[in-house]
């Protein structure tokens, strides 16, 4: 009985999600007809473009990697009812720290140096987000706003380092020097940029799932997320779970920046990671904050982005139509009344 109800709930949720995405696609098509002088061509590239060849397809999958990490980071935080809106700065700071560690150890073994660098990036993200969690625990400072503001300041300071002291003068790009060969991650789907960290990203999703659903910590985090007062009454140390989810969330954001450097960019380029933090929130929302849902949600999100980019390259629309379609998905995805309406409709039909 319980299982049957759970299956029904899942199906209703999946149906609701499908309707949401269908509405978003219809709006995308309407937008293209309004904005494009050659709508047929634009629609083709928007929907099919990312799938037309190995290079496009692999590159699309490559952009999934940081989204999985940031999406998981947001899912942990939101599941615990703490709000990390500082993803942008945490990703960017993580990528800078990874780059700096690699640049300062040019002759180290690739595995050791790469590990140290990623650990540093992870730590940078964890510290930044943890700070907001600490303020919240200690004095009740709203972590949603403080994490956003800290991230805003950090992004500008990272900009300073990339364009100032760390800028590579031999290159006209606003970027640091490239990290040494031995730190760069293995490409697994040539000629595209897809690298081995994609496997690592999927494994991380599994680890986060086990952490959240099969461990003591995960249980207590989820309980605090459901009802903090009730958890306190049940003897859970509630203040720990204001900081821990933020720290984990920040750590995953730092990793997202780190693997982007070692896998794709090999150097910290000014503002290269902008959007990864916000998109992580979108991914987590589409996945309903479920760690295993994050991977397909990230693929879907990357597909939308890649489609908009392909349409921009081959036709006459600008990339930002993706943002409009994404905002429509955002709007509808938590529209509970819509879901309820759909569920009733479905029952009436069946």
């Amino acid at each position: 009985m319980v299982r049957k109800r759970r299956v029904e709930g899942f199906l209703a949720g999946a149906f609701g999600l499908a309707v949401t995405l269908a509405i978003a696609f219809v709006i995308a098509i309407v937008l293209i007809f309004l904005l494009s002088k050659q709508p047929g061509k634009t629609i083709y590239f928007f929907f099919v473009g990312p799938l037309t060849n190995k290079y496009y397809f692999g590159n699309m999958l490559n952009t999934v990697i940081p989204l999985v990490f940031t999406g998981l980071g947001i899912a942990i935080a939101f599941k615990s009812s703490v709000f990390n809106l500082g993803g942008e700065g945490q990703v960017y700071a993580g990528s800078l720290v990874v780059t700096v560690i690699c640049l300062s150890l040019p002759n180290t073994n690739g595995y050791l140096g790469g590990f140290l660098a990623l650990a540093g990036g992870l730590l940078a993200g964890a510290l930044l987000a943890g700070l907001s969690g600490f303020f919240r625990m200690k004095w009740g400072t709203d972590e949603l706003i403080s994490s956003f503001l800290i991230s805003g300041a950090v992004a500008l300071i990272v900009n300073y380092f990339i364009t100032g002291p760390l800028d590579d003068p031999s290159n006209s790009l606003l970027a640091t020097r490239k990290v040494a060969e031995q730190f760069r991650l293995l490409k697994i789907f040539l000629p595209s940029k897809l690298d081995i960290s994609s496997v690592f990203a999927v494994l991380t999703a599994g680890v986060v799932y086990i952490l959240m659903y099969y461990t003591h910590w995960g249980y207590e985090m989820r309980m605090c997320g459901l009802n903090r007062e009730f958890s306190r009454y049940g003897g859970i140390n509630v203040s720990t779970y204001l900081v821990l989810p933020m720290v984990l969330s920040g750590a995953l954001h730092g990793l997202a920046g780190g693997v982007s450097i070692l896998g794709t960019h090999h150097a910290a380029v000014k503002e290269f990671s902008f959007g990864m933090g916000w998109n992580g929130i979108a991914v987590a929302l589409i996945a309903k904050n479920h760690p295993l849902g994050v991977v397909p949600a990230a693929i879907f999100f990357a597909y939308l982005d890649a489609g908009a980019k392909a349409a921009m390259l081959h036709s006459d629309v600008t990339f930002e139509i993706a943002a409009i379609v994404q905002s429509i998905i955002f709007y509808l995805i938590t529209a509970q009344a819509l879901y309820k309406f759909l569920r009733h409709r479905k029952r009436a039909v069946a």
């Binding site: 706003i145 403080s146 929302l285 994404q326 429509i328």
Partner: protein
């Protein structure tokens, strides 16, 4: 800016700079009082910024530009409100969606209308009228504070006074406050709390539209994402202002002063520009944390 004719240009500029914060925060106060965290202030301001300057350039009239800009912002606010209140979406997420929509929509429209995604200059835009009484400008402090500003600055003050009267002296304001304190109470009186929340979001759309107009009409140009976090700072201003109109005026002035100071420092002291740009964010975080520490110990005592 006419720095030379004023005794304290730093203070004079603060008044101009604080205006968008003040306007967005005073509208956000209404939504805050009805118990909603309105993070869409940023996006609404951006919509106002874009449409007011575009309509002003198209019609050649500042007045029409501002009015149509406000109208466009209120339309988006109505969309945001309908989805949050009637489709019962999580207001935090629909707020994020509104910000994303505003950023995407303004850039797409800019590209469509002007074929350009960068800075769009409007050459023959009428200038915002400035209240100038040269004889009185030089009065120390009073001249700096009250004279030589553009007309939107004075309109913002009018909005604050109007908001204070509405919130504390009218049945509508009482019900707005009541909705936040306990929507069940309002419902038990036969009133519709969701209706008040809807109106509060529309009011925030009105003031954010005006706040956006201040940004672009003063500059005579539209820059993608010109609001650059001002809506978020306006949210902090509401908290630091203790959710009262007077408190908001003071808090907005502090931020106006911080930004005015960092503009000044950019010219006078040799600090990298990025650090100076980061300064308002850092001040805001410090103020927020300081305020929560103060409140924490006050609650204990």
């Amino acid at each position: 800016m006419s720095q030379s004719s004023f005794t304290f240009p730093l203070i004079h500029n603060s008044i101009g700079i604080m205006t968008p914060f003040l306007l967005a925060a005073i509208g956000g106060l209404f939504t805050e009082l009805t118990g909603m965290l309105n993070i869409a202030l940023e996006g609404l301001m951006l919509i106002g910024a874009f449409f007011s300057v575009v309509f002003a350039a198209l019609t050649g009239s500042l007045m029409l530009g501002i009015l149509l800009g406000i109208l466009a912002t209120m339309l988006i606010a109505a969309l945001f409100a309908s989805i949050s209140l009637y489709l019962k979406a999580n207001i935090f997420i629909s707020g994020l969606a509104t910000n994303l929509l505003a950023s995407g929509l303004t850039i797409v429209l800019a590209f469509q209308l002007f074929g350009n995604k960068g800075v769009i200059r409007f050459e023959n835009l009428p200038k915002l009228p400035v209240l100038s009484i040269p004889a009185l400008d030089r009065i120390p402090l009073l001249g700096d504070l009250f004279l030589g500003h553009n007309v939107l600055v004075y309109i913002s003050w009018l909005c604050v006074i109007l908001a204070a009267v509405v919130i504390y002296r009218t049945p509508f304001g009482l019900r707005i406050r009541g909705t936040g304190l306990g929507s069940a109470t309002i419902a038990s009186l036969g009133l519709n709390p969701v209706g008040y929340q809807f109106k509060a979001i529309l009011i925030s759309g009105f003031t954010c539209g005006l706040a956006g107009a201040v940004l672009t009409l003063k500059l005579g140009a539209f820059v993608p994402n010109i609001t650059s976090g001002r809506g978020w700072i306006a949210l902090v201003v509401i908290y630091l202002g203790n959710k009262t109109p007077l408190g908001i005026v003071i808090a907005a002035f502090v931020f106006g002063f911080a930004e005015s100071f960092s503009n000044y420092a950019q010219g006078a002291i040799n600090i990298p520009a990025d650090f100076i740009l980061a300064f308002p964010y850092m001040i805001t975080v410090l103020a927020m944390v300081g305020y929560s520490i103060w409140r924490h110990y006050k609650a204990r005592a």
